[in-house]
Amino acid sequence: MNQTRPLKLWIQHQANRFAPALFFVGLVMLWELICQLSDVPNYILPSPSAIITAFFNVEFSRWMTHLWATLRVALMGFVLSICIALPLSIGMMRSELMNRVLYPALIVIQSTPVVAVAPLIIVLLGTDDPSRVLITCLITFFPLVVSTTTGMLETPPEMIELSQSLRAPRYRETWQIRIPYAIPHIFSGLRVSITLAIIGAVVAEFVAAEEGLGYFIQFSTSFFKIPQAFAGLIFLSIISLLLFKSIQWSQAWWFPWSLPKKK
């Protein structure tokens, strides 16, 4: 056997494993190179090095303050929308009437640009967390309702027939058959919602806030500190990424059976 073969394989394997990271690093290097070579001013496109410098120029404790403010609102909004979406979809699945009445209303809520109504919410609920949480909730709960309802309706009819023939009560039908079948759908809804939750929190901060990453970005641009704004933006995307991942992890942890089988 050729000695180099395992090494080659190993390199191939590692390259494959770290492909996303390598792609990302390459992208950043290309970005830096373009900025260095073409002499683009920082206020049009800041270079990665300028962004990193700006990131460390802001005190760590300030980052934590802003992070906590955004994360708090995003997570509270997210949890609130779960609390609303799950019972709502169970209700809509069970009752045809409720489905007919509520669906149009939900679509109206979803298709209204929250940015447009956000100032009204602030006037009604004040400038503190409750209004921001509501704005986040309005943005996040629709995908959850849709995916949960779809999931529960996609339960194989023979399972339902079986449970009915065994005279299982409705709540057991829901909890032991429909919801487990809906888990993959619920989690895909949760993954969409969690990224929307961050967007929702930022939108709310654009309208009224004294802290938070969205506020920080708006604030930085008002002082024309574009690298600093970018640093905030990148911080924000890292948080979204982590939250997205944590939904995947929690699905793997609690509902490993609901994941598609690995090839």
Binding site: P41, N42, E59, V123, T127, T221, S222, F223
Partner: protein
Amino acid sequence: MKTAMTSVIKTAMKTTLRLSLLTSLVASASAMAADKVTFQLDWLPGGDKAPVYVGIQQGFFADEDLDVKIASGRGSTDALTKMATGQSDIGSSDIGALMAARAQDNVPVVAVLPYFTQAPHAFFVLKSSGIQSINDLKGKKVATSPFTSSNAFLPLVLKQNGLTEEDIKLVKSDPGALSPMMITGNADAIIAWVTNTALFKAQAKGAGKEIIEMPWSNSGLSLYSSSLLAAEKFLEERPDVAKRFIKAFSKSIAFTYQYPDKAGEDLHKMVPEVDADIVSAQIKSITNLVYNDVTKEDGVGHFSPARIQKTWEYVAEANGLTMDALDPETAVNSKFVPE
């Protein structure tokens, strides 16, 4: 493993709970007597918003037994709405926006103290553009932001200089994009407040360029602008608090413009993201909006009826309102200014 984790979390939660209880106790004990006032800014913190921060840091509000909380705003109308709906008690906003709002909706907010006695609107151009006066803007591309109050006054200042809106090519873009547009040559001139001059200059310098500001106040547009406004409910229910606030606020304005460097530091202490030196540069560059010929003639901190009338005439014309839509004197309440 799990139980160990939960017990750690539980202890941590208990400790934080106790700590927060303790701090709130301490805070409430020290603020027991002080009257709480929520101050509304019409935009994000910056040099022109420094006085209220100075008042807190220098203890001018504490001296009057006031506990002041600051809320940032997103434009004049946003600030007005928050005062009208009771989210805030008192704050800074454009008196023109107030007059327009009162004429149309009779919002329960009044002006109590002048701050900018000249309008901050201006054109900015690059020195290399060769544009030297407003007349030179004929046929040029001018960029402005969509929601600035300057837009309403643009036709007036153009008219004063023998131009109409058809003579310029007006484009609208995000406030943050204006100065880069000018520096890169995407726009011949931009419309912004002179509060931005220090920032624009720094930006242009980075690109090896120089900018010129052309304030509209030099070109025939002379009126009151940013002022201290208060909710009518606040004045009615807590007149004594209002009086003390206005007294401390007047003191804060005076201190801010007398010691711009200290004011910069004070603002930086409360909003660490802001550089103290940028703030002090901003304050220095707008001193003439606060102290000028108008204040020399009328005295600091007094609305003159003639100038209020003049301001309303401008506002009415700019917003397409009839002159009798508002008695401008009703938008002002000078009873709370200390003698």
